[in-house]
């Protein structure tokens, strides 16, 4: 933990709220441009030496994510029913945010993702819209992110990918058994498998060691700094500038404003739950697709003249099926995902619904989780036969996950719960969400594609997860959407709020549409682009 300490009363150039996928990038870009930056992070500051392969701590408890014992979440399907306590959303809560515990899938959006409304027309009941930017606007920033963070992949291997200005900085990860089987089978079906682009180092890079295949990526922090989180990539660079202070255990409750309506800093709870005020010339909220909206709502509805803060919540819908094979895969070794297809990614009106998805071959179970939740639904749940089955299935199973659509709808929201409070006395997040019928139809259709692929792979038995099961959702998007019209969006095309000229929001909340999930690359490309703009605007005196 290097870097200087800033005083609370001297206004820093930029106050960044949230040290995750976006906040880490913004902090690095601004501090290397010479600006003074303080980053307030809700969660602690852990290092690779703090992590372990402890499934109980990281997969069964909120080891690296929001803990509902401290920060309850309530859920309701629609506003006519009472909200009940349920962990409807999950996010990384530490320095590095979700980039620490994520699976490390790192997909760029397709060109079409930025203007699907123009391509497919209106979808009744939704706020389906084009983005105010195009793929070409973000391409240089996708490239910058891939090189800054360290992404492994094979450019050009996916015939459906958008044009790229440079190859990946690192070669792809080797296929494990799930990927090898998937590649052979999908080719047989006339599809186009390719090596998964991953935020994992296939070779040593920028002083970090290559992946050692320990198998503990999803839900875990990387022991050897091979997962390219912001914690191990850009945040150390920011701290080394001497212009950036990362302040962990700092939970912001309000963005302060002056009589002119400009942001002046933020009030937060420190580790001892004392209220502290940090002054700043500009504020950048990177708290994630739910927490950013919550913070604006807590700040008396700041930047909400559109009424859209907290609306259009989107998340990681998908179809998941698991299968058992004759021989051992030993999928517990190595990264979770090595091969995927984008053949079904684009929407096709002939299907009768808006949809599409990318399907990856994976295994993201750990021993106890597999025994409890990974087995076929018709298997015994306990007893001698169950025990034998777990032993047979654990090394011979793998899954397919279709990352699918989540249509934006104003009825799906983040609001402040009027009754439930968190451990700091702040209102709990209340989630209201019902998927669009097209999202459900799409998941069912993609599940059928997964069965075809498993069949071609020679699976002995396949079992699905119900597509409409209530679950904990990640990849939080849409609640401070981007647009040119201040009446129809919260931030402009550079992630600056329409209402407050020195207030930015940049993270998944900016997303106008959800593409086919895997938002991290796009969140970070947006963060690079926004930081570039902030830097130019500050130098031109436009933020005062």
């Amino acid at each position: 933990m290097s870097g200087r300490k800033f005083s609370l009363t001297d206004a820093v150039d930029f106050l960044v709220i949230g040290a995750g996928a976006a906040g880490g990038v913004v902090a690095k870009e601004l501090s290397t441009s010479g600006f003074s930056v303080v980053v307030l992070e809700q969660g602690p500051y852990w290092r690779e030496t703090d992590y372990s392969h402890d499934e109980i701590k990281y997969a069964f408890q909120a080891g690296l994510t929001n803990d509902t014992k401290l920060q309850p979440v309530t859920f309701r399907a629609n506003e006519n029913e009472p909200a009940k306590r349920f962990k409807a959303i999950e996010y990384g809560r530490q320095v590095g945010g979700g980039s620490v515990h994520f699976t490390a899938n790192y997909w760029r959006f397709h060109e079409s993702d930025f203007h699907e409304r123009s391509l497919y027309g209106d979808i009744p009941g939704t706020s389906f819209a084009d983005w105010p930017i195009r793929y070409a606007d973000l391409e240089p920033y996708y490239t910058k992110a891939e090189y800054d963070l360290g992404i492994s992949g094979l450019g050009g291997a996916n015939p459906f990918e958008a044009p790229r200005s440079k190859p990946y900085p690192l070669p792809p990860m080797r296929a494990k058994s799930s990927g090898a089987l998937f590649e052979r089978a999908t080719k047989k079906l006339g599809l186009h498998p390719y090596p998964a682009p991953m935020a994992v180092l296939s070779r040593p890079y920028q002083g970090r060691s290559a992946c050692v295949n320990c198998g503990f990526c999803e839900s875990f922090g990387c022991d050897v700094r091979a997962k390219s989180s912001t914690l191990v990539s850009v945040i150390p660079v920011a701290e080394k500038t001497g212009h950036c202070e990362i302040r962990p255990n700092s939970y912001v409750r309000k963005i302060a404003t002056d009589a002119r309506g400009r942001a002046t800093g933020a009030v937060y709870f420190d580790a001892k739950r004392r209220e502290v005020f940090q002054r700043a010339k500009a504020v950048v909220v990177c708290a994630n697709g739910v927490e950013s909206a919550k913070l604006l709502l807590l700040s008396n509805g700041l930047a909400n003249s559109s009424g859209l803060v907290g609306k259009n919540l989107m998340w990681d819908n998908g179809s998941f099926a698991t299968a058992v094979f004759e021989h051992p895969h030993n999928e517990f070794k190595g990264i979770q995902v090595t091969r995927l297809i984008h053949d079904y990614y684009a929407a096709d009106p002939k299907r009768g619904f808006y949809g599409g998805g990318g399907i990856d071959a994976r295994f993201n179970f750990y021993p106890a989780g597999f025994a409890l939740y990974g087995m076929p639904p018709d298997a015994p749940k306990w007893g001698a036969e169950y025990k034998k089955m777990v032993a047979h299935y654990f090394t011979r199973s793998m899954s397919l996950l279709a990352h699918s659509t989540s249509l934006p709808m104003e009825r799906n929201t983040v609001t402040l719960d009027p009754d439930v409070k968190d451990a700091w006395g702040l209102p709990a997040v209340r989630i209201t969400y019902t998927p669009h019928p097209d999202d459900i139809a799409n998941m069912k259709w993609l599940l059928e594609r997964e069965y075809e692929i498993f069949d071609a792979m020679g699976a002995k038995k396949v079992w699905p997860q119900p597509v409409d099961a209530l679950s904990t959702n990640r990849h939080l998007m849409g609640t401070c959407r981007m647009g040119l019209d201040p009446k129809k969006s919260v931030v402009n095309q550079y992630s600056r709020t329409h209402d407050v000229r020195n207030l930015f929001v940049v993270d998944g909340s900016n997303f106008v549409t959800a593409a086919r999930q895997q938002p991290t690359a796009t969140i970070q490309a947006l963060a690079y682009r926004a930081a570039d703009y902030m830097s130019r605007a500050a130098k031109a005196g436009e933020l005062g």
Partner: protein, 183 residues
């Protein structure tokens, strides 16, 4: 964790380095295993005996170690004093209910632990759809397959039984189907 990772990270990644680490970890595990027999902190002896009956039906011994050999009951006891302390009331109420069910089914048995194997199986079948049973099931599997530092999965026996091994590093190929994959 019992090994300082920093040492591992900055050490040379040679086979000798790995062997040293493996030896150090093994030593630490043995040291932990040699401590005196664990005492119950939440359960009294009769509660522990009754819950152990259920856990041993969920994961019986036989073709390999089960709940008994891996110390699942000690794992559950410790869980109820630590990370799952809010489940204590579930256990208190659940055990009382199971005892009541047992008395109805087998009025002549002094207690659950005194039931014969067939009767114990019948008792667990009678409660298998209750929330309490599901809680015990989750805890039993966590105790069998969770990290041994929590008091269960003794000697990594649960992991070994299902073919899992916790290592800091693996070399491909990993399984049957990726042997021929190019590097």
């Amino acid at each position: 964790m019992d090994v300082n990772r920093r040492e591992w990270l900055f050490g040379s990644l040679t086979a000798a380095g790995f062997a040293e680490i493996a030896a150090a970890r093994e030593h630490a595990r043995h040291a932990a295993a040699k401590t005196t027999a664990p005492q119950f902190e939440f359960f009294d002896a009769s509660m522990a005996a009754d819950v152990a009956v259920i856990a041993e039906q969920i994961l019986p011994s036989g073709d390999g170690p089960g709940a008994k050999e891996t110390g699942v009951i000690y794992f559950i006891d410790r869980a109820l004093k630590t990370f799952d302390a809010d489940q204590q009331k579930v256990y208190r109420a659940g055990i009382a209910e199971v005892r009541e069910t047992s008395r109805k089914l087998f009025p002549n048995a002094a207690n659950i632990a005194k039931l014969n194997g067939e009767q114990q199986l019948a008792l667990v079948k009678a409660i298998e759809h209750t929330d309490f049973f599901e809680t015990v099931r989750v805890h039993t599997l966590l105790g069998f397959l969770g990290n041994p530092s929590y008091g269960g999965n003794r000697g990594n026996a649960g992991w070994t039984y299902i073919g899992f091994e916790d290592r800091m590093a693996w070399e491909p190929p990993f399984g049957y189907y990726d042997v021929e994959e190019p590097k």
